[in-house]
Symmetry: C2
Subunit: 202 residues, 2 copies
Amino acid sequence: MDNTKEDLAGLKAACLEAARESIAEHGVERLSLREVARRLGVSHQAPYKHFASRDHLLAEVIRKCFQDFARFLDNRERQQNPDQDLSCLGSRYLQFALERPLEYRLMFGTPWPEPAEEVGLVKDALHAFNILRGDLKGIHGDSADAQPKVDLDAMMIWSSMHGLASIFQSSAVRHLDLANGVQAQAPAYIMDRLRAMLSAQG
Amino acid sequence: MDNTKEDLAGLKAACLEAARESIAEHGVERLSLREVARRLGVSHQAPYKHFASRDHLLAEVIRKCFQDFARFLDNRERQQNPDQDLSCLGSRYLQFALERPLEYRLMFGTPWPEPAEEVGLVKDALHAFNILRGDLKGIHGDSADAQPKVDLDAMMIWSSMHGLASIFQSSAVRHLDLANGVQAQAPAYIMDRLRAMLSAQG
Protein backbone atom coordinates (compact mmCIF):
# COMPACT_ATOMS: atom_id res chain seq x y z
CA MET A 1 0.00 0.00 0.00
CA ASP A 2 1.53 3.36 -0.93
CA ASN A 3 1.31 6.25 1.51
CA THR A 4 -1.68 7.88 -0.12
CA LYS A 5 -3.75 4.70 0.03
CA GLU A 6 -2.69 4.10 3.60
CA ASP A 7 -3.67 7.66 4.53
CA LEU A 8 -7.03 7.19 2.84
CA ALA A 9 -7.80 3.92 4.66
CA GLY A 10 -6.67 5.53 7.89
CA LEU A 11 -8.94 8.50 7.26
CA LYS A 12 -11.95 6.27 6.69
CA ALA A 13 -11.42 4.40 9.97
CA ALA A 14 -10.79 7.70 11.77
CA CYS A 15 -14.04 9.13 10.38
CA LEU A 16 -16.01 6.11 11.62
CA GLU A 17 -14.47 6.45 15.07
CA ALA A 18 -15.05 10.22 15.18
CA ALA A 19 -18.66 9.65 14.10
CA ARG A 20 -19.16 7.13 16.90
CA GLU A 21 -17.79 9.63 19.42
CA SER A 22 -19.98 12.41 18.08
CA ILE A 23 -23.05 10.17 18.40
CA ALA A 24 -22.05 9.17 21.93
CA GLU A 25 -21.81 12.82 22.93
CA HIS A 26 -24.61 14.49 21.00
CA GLY A 27 -26.87 11.76 19.63
CA VAL A 28 -27.51 10.64 16.07
CA GLU A 29 -29.42 13.81 15.13
CA ARG A 30 -26.36 16.03 15.38
CA LEU A 31 -24.06 13.78 13.31
CA SER A 32 -22.67 15.50 10.21
CA LEU A 33 -19.67 15.13 7.92
CA ARG A 34 -18.67 18.67 8.88
CA GLU A 35 -18.65 17.77 12.58
CA VAL A 36 -16.55 14.67 11.86
CA ALA A 37 -14.06 16.76 9.85
CA ARG A 38 -13.90 19.28 12.70
CA ARG A 39 -13.13 16.53 15.22
CA LEU A 40 -10.34 15.15 13.06
CA GLY A 41 -8.91 18.56 12.20
CA VAL A 42 -9.15 17.85 8.45
CA SER A 43 -10.79 19.91 5.70
CA HIS A 44 -14.57 19.90 5.37
CA GLN A 45 -14.21 18.10 2.08
CA ALA A 46 -11.96 15.27 3.31
CA PRO A 47 -14.68 12.90 4.65
CA TYR A 48 -16.45 13.06 1.26
CA LYS A 49 -13.62 10.94 -0.16
CA HIS A 50 -15.16 8.02 1.73
CA PHE A 51 -18.77 8.91 2.41
CA ALA A 52 -21.14 10.26 -0.22
CA SER A 53 -23.36 11.79 2.47
CA ARG A 54 -24.02 11.98 6.19
CA ASP A 55 -26.45 9.07 5.80
CA HIS A 56 -23.78 6.95 4.14
CA LEU A 57 -21.51 7.66 7.09
CA LEU A 58 -24.23 6.72 9.59
CA ALA A 59 -25.01 3.53 7.66
CA GLU A 60 -21.34 2.55 7.79
CA VAL A 61 -21.16 3.27 11.52
CA ILE A 62 -24.14 0.97 12.14
CA ARG A 63 -22.69 -1.60 9.78
CA LYS A 64 -19.50 -1.66 11.83
CA CYS A 65 -21.60 -2.27 14.98
CA PHE A 66 -23.12 -5.34 13.33
CA GLN A 67 -19.69 -6.57 12.25
CA ASP A 68 -18.36 -6.25 15.81
CA PHE A 69 -21.52 -7.84 17.17
CA ALA A 70 -21.37 -10.83 14.80
CA ARG A 71 -17.67 -11.29 15.57
CA PHE A 72 -18.44 -11.25 19.29
CA LEU A 73 -21.14 -13.89 18.82
CA ASP A 74 -18.91 -15.97 16.56
CA ASN A 75 -16.17 -16.00 19.21
CA ARG A 76 -18.31 -17.85 21.75
CA GLU A 77 -17.19 -21.22 23.06
CA ARG A 78 -18.87 -23.67 20.70
CA GLN A 79 -21.01 -26.44 22.15
CA GLN A 80 -21.74 -29.87 20.71
CA ASN A 81 -25.53 -29.56 20.67
CA PRO A 82 -27.37 -26.69 19.04
CA ASP A 83 -29.60 -26.24 22.07
CA GLN A 84 -26.59 -25.90 24.38
CA ASP A 85 -25.04 -23.56 21.86
CA LEU A 86 -28.18 -21.42 22.05
CA SER A 87 -27.51 -20.76 25.73
CA CYS A 88 -24.01 -19.51 24.95
CA LEU A 89 -25.39 -17.40 22.16
CA GLY A 90 -28.03 -15.96 24.48
CA SER A 91 -25.54 -14.99 27.14
CA ARG A 92 -23.13 -13.47 24.59
CA TYR A 93 -26.03 -11.48 23.15
CA LEU A 94 -26.91 -10.07 26.58
CA GLN A 95 -23.29 -9.38 27.39
CA PHE A 96 -22.82 -7.33 24.23
CA ALA A 97 -26.05 -5.42 24.81
CA LEU A 98 -25.10 -4.50 28.37
CA GLU A 99 -21.41 -3.77 27.78
CA ARG A 100 -21.84 -1.80 24.57
CA PRO A 101 -25.17 0.01 24.93
CA LEU A 102 -24.37 2.64 22.29
CA GLU A 103 -23.59 0.07 19.59
CA TYR A 104 -26.60 -1.95 20.64
CA ARG A 105 -28.88 1.06 20.42
CA LEU A 106 -27.51 2.00 17.00
CA MET A 107 -28.22 -1.48 15.62
CA PHE A 108 -31.70 -1.94 17.06
CA GLY A 109 -32.99 1.38 18.31
CA THR A 110 -32.03 3.76 15.50
CA PRO A 111 -33.86 3.98 12.17
CA TRP A 112 -31.38 2.81 9.54
CA PRO A 113 -30.61 5.47 6.95
CA GLU A 114 -31.54 4.91 3.35
CA PRO A 115 -28.09 3.72 2.10
CA ALA A 116 -28.28 0.69 4.46
CA GLU A 117 -28.48 -1.75 1.56
CA GLU A 118 -25.88 0.04 -0.56
CA VAL A 119 -23.11 0.02 2.09
CA GLY A 120 -23.64 -3.62 3.11
CA LEU A 121 -25.34 -2.92 6.44
CA VAL A 122 -28.23 -5.24 5.55
CA LYS A 123 -25.84 -8.04 4.64
CA ASP A 124 -23.96 -7.76 7.93
CA ALA A 125 -27.16 -7.62 10.00
CA LEU A 126 -28.38 -10.73 8.21
CA HIS A 127 -25.10 -12.46 8.96
CA ALA A 128 -25.61 -11.83 12.70
CA PHE A 129 -29.20 -13.11 12.60
CA ASN A 130 -28.14 -16.20 10.67
CA ILE A 131 -25.96 -17.29 13.60
CA LEU A 132 -29.17 -17.77 15.58
CA ARG A 133 -30.90 -19.38 12.61
CA GLY A 134 -27.98 -21.81 12.32
CA ASP A 135 -28.61 -23.32 15.76
CA LEU A 136 -32.33 -23.56 15.09
CA LYS A 137 -31.73 -25.31 11.77
CA GLY A 138 -29.65 -27.78 13.78
CA ILE A 139 -32.83 -28.51 15.75
CA HIS A 140 -35.61 -28.17 13.17
CA GLY A 141 -33.72 -29.08 10.02
CA ASP A 142 -32.92 -27.02 6.96
CA SER A 143 -35.83 -27.89 4.66
CA ALA A 144 -38.15 -25.28 3.16
CA ASP A 145 -40.91 -26.64 5.42
CA ALA A 146 -38.82 -25.98 8.52
CA GLN A 147 -38.15 -22.37 7.62
CA PRO A 148 -41.19 -20.74 9.27
CA LYS A 149 -40.55 -22.75 12.43
CA VAL A 150 -36.88 -21.70 12.44
CA ASP A 151 -37.87 -18.05 12.00
CA LEU A 152 -40.66 -18.13 14.60
CA ASP A 153 -38.35 -19.65 17.18
CA ALA A 154 -35.63 -17.18 16.21
CA MET A 155 -38.11 -14.35 16.86
CA MET A 156 -39.03 -15.93 20.19
CA ILE A 157 -35.44 -16.22 21.38
CA TRP A 158 -34.37 -12.87 19.98
CA SER A 159 -37.31 -11.04 21.55
CA SER A 160 -36.64 -12.64 24.96
CA MET A 161 -32.99 -11.65 25.00
CA HIS A 162 -33.62 -8.26 23.42
CA GLY A 163 -36.38 -7.55 25.92
CA LEU A 164 -34.26 -8.66 28.85
CA ALA A 165 -31.36 -6.44 27.77
CA SER A 166 -33.73 -3.51 27.52
CA ILE A 167 -35.49 -4.23 30.82
CA PHE A 168 -32.16 -4.50 32.64
CA GLN A 169 -31.36 -0.98 31.50
CA SER A 170 -34.75 0.42 32.51
CA SER A 171 -35.49 2.27 35.71
CA ALA A 172 -38.66 0.21 36.11
CA VAL A 173 -36.92 -3.07 36.93
CA ARG A 174 -35.25 -1.58 40.00
CA HIS A 175 -38.58 -0.56 41.53
CA LEU A 176 -40.75 -3.65 41.17
CA ASP A 177 -39.83 -5.33 44.47
CA LEU A 178 -38.68 -8.44 42.65
CA ALA A 179 -38.06 -11.46 44.89
CA ASN A 180 -34.43 -11.88 45.95
CA GLY A 181 -32.08 -12.99 43.20
CA VAL A 182 -34.70 -12.89 40.45
CA GLN A 183 -32.89 -10.36 38.32
CA ALA A 184 -29.60 -12.27 38.47
CA GLN A 185 -31.30 -15.60 37.76
CA ALA A 186 -33.58 -14.39 34.98
CA PRO A 187 -31.26 -14.80 31.96
CA ALA A 188 -30.32 -18.43 32.72
CA TYR A 189 -33.88 -19.25 33.79
CA ILE A 190 -35.34 -17.89 30.57
CA MET A 191 -32.75 -19.57 28.33
CA ASP A 192 -33.34 -22.89 30.13
CA ARG A 193 -37.08 -22.62 29.62
CA LEU A 194 -36.63 -21.78 25.95
CA ARG A 195 -34.27 -24.72 25.49
CA ALA A 196 -36.66 -27.08 27.27
CA MET A 197 -39.42 -25.89 24.96
CA LEU A 198 -37.29 -26.44 21.87
CA SER A 199 -36.16 -29.92 22.86
CA ALA A 200 -39.76 -30.89 23.68
CA GLN A 201 -40.54 -30.07 20.03
CA GLY A 202 -37.43 -31.61 18.50
CA MET B 1 -64.89 23.54 43.34
CA ASP B 2 -64.47 27.30 43.19
CA ASN B 3 -63.02 28.94 40.11
CA THR B 4 -59.51 29.23 41.46
CA LYS B 5 -59.29 25.55 42.33
CA GLU B 6 -60.72 24.65 38.98
CA ASP B 7 -58.18 26.85 37.24
CA LEU B 8 -55.38 25.28 39.24
CA ALA B 9 -56.44 21.69 38.43
CA GLY B 10 -56.87 22.72 34.81
CA LEU B 11 -53.40 24.25 34.79
CA LYS B 12 -51.81 21.09 36.17
CA ALA B 13 -53.42 18.92 33.48
CA ALA B 14 -52.49 21.49 30.83
CA CYS B 15 -48.86 21.48 32.01
CA LEU B 16 -48.70 17.67 31.77
CA GLU B 17 -50.12 17.78 28.25
CA ALA B 18 -47.78 20.61 27.17
CA ALA B 19 -44.84 18.68 28.63
CA ARG B 20 -45.82 15.60 26.64
CA GLU B 21 -45.97 17.67 23.46
CA SER B 22 -42.62 19.26 24.17
CA ILE B 23 -41.06 15.82 24.68
CA ALA B 24 -42.66 14.53 21.47
CA GLU B 25 -41.16 17.42 19.52
CA HIS B 26 -37.78 17.96 21.14
CA GLY B 27 -37.05 14.98 23.36
CA VAL B 28 -36.78 14.68 27.12
CA GLU B 29 -33.52 16.66 27.32
CA ARG B 30 -35.13 19.94 26.28
CA LEU B 31 -38.08 19.72 28.68
CA SER B 32 -38.24 22.65 31.11
CA LEU B 33 -40.88 24.41 33.19
CA ARG B 34 -40.09 27.60 31.26
CA GLU B 35 -40.81 25.87 27.94
CA VAL B 36 -44.09 24.51 29.29
CA ALA B 37 -45.11 27.99 30.50
CA ARG B 38 -44.23 29.39 27.08
CA ARG B 39 -46.41 26.80 25.33
CA LEU B 40 -49.37 27.59 27.57
CA GLY B 41 -48.91 31.35 27.40
CA VAL B 42 -48.78 31.64 31.20
CA SER B 43 -46.17 33.29 33.41
CA HIS B 44 -42.84 31.53 34.01
CA GLN B 45 -43.81 31.08 37.63
CA ALA B 46 -47.21 29.49 37.02
CA PRO B 47 -46.08 25.85 36.56
CA TYR B 48 -44.23 26.04 39.88
CA LYS B 49 -47.61 26.04 41.61
CA HIS B 50 -47.83 22.34 40.69
CA PHE B 51 -44.29 21.15 40.07
CA ALA B 52 -41.40 21.83 42.40
CA SER B 53 -38.91 21.31 39.57
CA ARG B 54 -38.51 20.15 36.01
CA ASP B 55 -37.77 16.66 37.32
CA HIS B 56 -41.00 16.62 39.30
CA LEU B 57 -42.85 17.53 36.10
CA LEU B 58 -41.11 14.75 34.15
CA ALA B 59 -41.83 12.22 36.91
CA GLU B 60 -45.51 13.15 36.78
CA VAL B 61 -45.57 12.85 32.98
CA ILE B 62 -44.13 9.33 33.23
CA ARG B 63 -46.48 8.53 36.10
CA LYS B 64 -49.42 9.48 33.90
CA CYS B 65 -48.13 7.10 31.19
CA PHE B 66 -48.16 4.25 33.71
CA GLN B 67 -51.68 5.17 34.84
CA ASP B 68 -52.93 5.15 31.22
CA PHE B 69 -51.03 1.92 30.58
CA ALA B 70 -52.46 0.13 33.64
CA ARG B 71 -55.96 1.34 32.77
CA PHE B 72 -55.52 0.01 29.23
CA LEU B 73 -54.41 -3.39 30.58
CA ASP B 74 -57.20 -3.44 33.16
CA ASN B 75 -59.80 -2.83 30.43
CA ARG B 76 -59.01 -6.09 28.63
CA GLU B 77 -61.71 -8.70 28.21
CA ARG B 78 -61.27 -10.93 31.24
CA GLN B 79 -60.84 -14.65 30.72
CA GLN B 80 -61.77 -17.49 33.05
CA ASN B 81 -58.33 -19.04 33.29
CA PRO B 82 -55.21 -17.12 34.22
CA ASP B 83 -53.25 -18.64 31.35
CA GLN B 84 -55.87 -17.50 28.84
CA ASP B 85 -55.93 -14.13 30.52
CA LEU B 86 -52.15 -13.91 29.99
CA SER B 87 -52.68 -14.03 26.22
CA CYS B 88 -55.07 -11.08 26.39
CA LEU B 89 -52.65 -9.24 28.61
CA GLY B 90 -49.80 -9.94 26.18
CA SER B 91 -51.69 -8.63 23.19
CA ARG B 92 -52.89 -5.52 25.07
CA TYR B 93 -49.29 -4.88 26.12
CA LEU B 94 -48.09 -5.08 22.52
CA GLN B 95 -50.96 -2.95 21.30
CA PHE B 96 -50.16 -0.17 23.75
CA ALA B 97 -46.45 -0.30 22.91
CA LEU B 98 -47.08 -0.03 19.18
CA GLU B 99 -49.90 2.53 19.28
CA ARG B 100 -48.35 4.82 21.87
CA PRO B 101 -44.60 4.61 21.28
CA LEU B 102 -43.84 7.89 23.04
CA GLU B 103 -45.58 6.87 26.28
CA TYR B 104 -44.00 3.44 26.02
CA ARG B 105 -40.53 4.90 25.60
CA LEU B 106 -41.04 7.26 28.53
CA MET B 107 -42.01 4.38 30.84
CA PHE B 108 -39.30 1.93 29.84
CA GLY B 109 -36.64 3.73 27.82
CA THR B 110 -36.14 6.94 29.83
CA PRO B 111 -34.23 7.13 33.10
CA TRP B 112 -36.76 8.05 35.76
CA PRO B 113 -35.96 11.33 37.47
CA GLU B 114 -35.17 11.37 41.15
CA PRO B 115 -38.66 12.40 42.43
CA ALA B 116 -40.13 9.16 40.98
CA GLU B 117 -40.92 7.80 44.43
CA GLU B 118 -42.18 11.11 45.78
CA VAL B 119 -44.78 11.74 43.07
CA GLY B 120 -46.14 8.17 43.10
CA LEU B 121 -44.58 7.04 39.83
CA VAL B 122 -43.12 3.95 41.51
CA LYS B 123 -46.49 3.00 42.99
CA ASP B 124 -48.22 3.28 39.61
CA ALA B 125 -45.51 1.28 37.81
CA LEU B 126 -45.82 -1.42 40.44
CA HIS B 127 -49.57 -1.47 39.96
CA ALA B 128 -49.09 -2.18 36.23
CA PHE B 129 -46.58 -4.97 36.92
CA ASN B 130 -48.87 -6.51 39.53
CA ILE B 131 -51.50 -7.14 36.85
CA LEU B 132 -49.07 -9.64 35.30
CA ARG B 133 -48.13 -11.01 38.71
CA GLY B 134 -51.84 -11.54 39.43
CA ASP B 135 -52.25 -14.02 36.57
CA LEU B 136 -49.09 -15.86 37.55
CA LYS B 137 -50.23 -16.13 41.16
CA GLY B 138 -53.36 -17.73 39.75
CA ILE B 139 -51.10 -20.40 38.26
CA HIS B 140 -48.33 -20.79 40.85
CA GLY B 141 -50.21 -19.78 44.01
CA ASP B 142 -49.68 -16.86 46.31
CA SER B 143 -47.41 -18.40 48.97
CA ALA B 144 -44.02 -16.94 49.87
CA ASP B 145 -42.43 -20.01 48.25
CA ALA B 146 -44.14 -19.28 44.96
CA GLN B 147 -42.91 -15.69 44.81
CA PRO B 148 -39.58 -16.24 43.03
CA LYS B 149 -41.34 -18.44 40.46
CA VAL B 150 -44.03 -15.80 39.92
CA ASP B 151 -41.38 -13.13 39.43
CA LEU B 152 -39.16 -15.23 37.16
CA ASP B 153 -42.10 -16.08 34.92
CA ALA B 154 -43.19 -12.44 35.01
CA MET B 155 -39.71 -11.46 33.80
CA MET B 156 -39.90 -14.12 31.08
CA ILE B 157 -43.27 -12.94 29.76
CA TRP B 158 -42.49 -9.25 30.14
CA SER B 159 -39.14 -9.57 28.35
CA SER B 160 -40.73 -11.49 25.44
CA MET B 161 -43.44 -8.90 24.90
CA HIS B 162 -41.13 -5.96 25.54
CA GLY B 163 -38.56 -7.38 23.14
CA LEU B 164 -41.15 -8.05 20.48
CA ALA B 165 -42.51 -4.51 20.72
CA SER B 166 -39.02 -3.15 20.34
CA ILE B 167 -38.06 -5.50 17.49
CA PHE B 168 -41.23 -4.58 15.58
CA GLN B 169 -40.16 -0.96 15.67
CA SER B 170 -36.59 -1.71 14.57
CA SER B 171 -35.27 -1.37 11.04
CA ALA B 172 -33.53 -4.73 11.43
CA VAL B 173 -36.69 -6.85 11.41
CA ARG B 174 -37.66 -5.61 7.94
CA HIS B 175 -34.37 -6.78 6.43
CA LEU B 176 -33.95 -10.31 7.75
CA ASP B 177 -35.79 -12.14 4.97
CA LEU B 178 -38.18 -13.69 7.47
CA ALA B 179 -40.34 -16.50 6.09
CA ASN B 180 -43.80 -15.38 4.93
CA GLY B 181 -46.19 -14.46 7.70
CA VAL B 182 -43.65 -14.88 10.51
CA GLN B 183 -43.86 -11.33 11.75
CA ALA B 184 -47.66 -11.37 11.88
CA GLN B 185 -47.73 -14.78 13.57
CA ALA B 186 -44.94 -14.14 16.07
CA PRO B 187 -46.96 -12.55 18.94
CA ALA B 188 -49.59 -15.32 19.10
CA TYR B 189 -46.96 -18.02 18.54
CA ILE B 190 -44.80 -16.74 21.37
CA MET B 191 -47.72 -16.28 23.79
CA ASP B 192 -48.94 -19.80 22.99
CA ARG B 193 -45.51 -21.26 23.68
CA LEU B 194 -45.24 -19.37 26.95
CA ARG B 195 -48.69 -20.54 27.99
CA ALA B 196 -47.88 -24.15 27.10
CA MET B 197 -44.73 -23.89 29.19
CA LEU B 198 -46.64 -22.47 32.15
CA SER B 199 -49.38 -25.09 32.04
CA ALA B 200 -46.77 -27.88 31.78
CA GLN B 201 -45.43 -26.58 35.12
CA GLY B 202 -48.79 -25.90 36.79
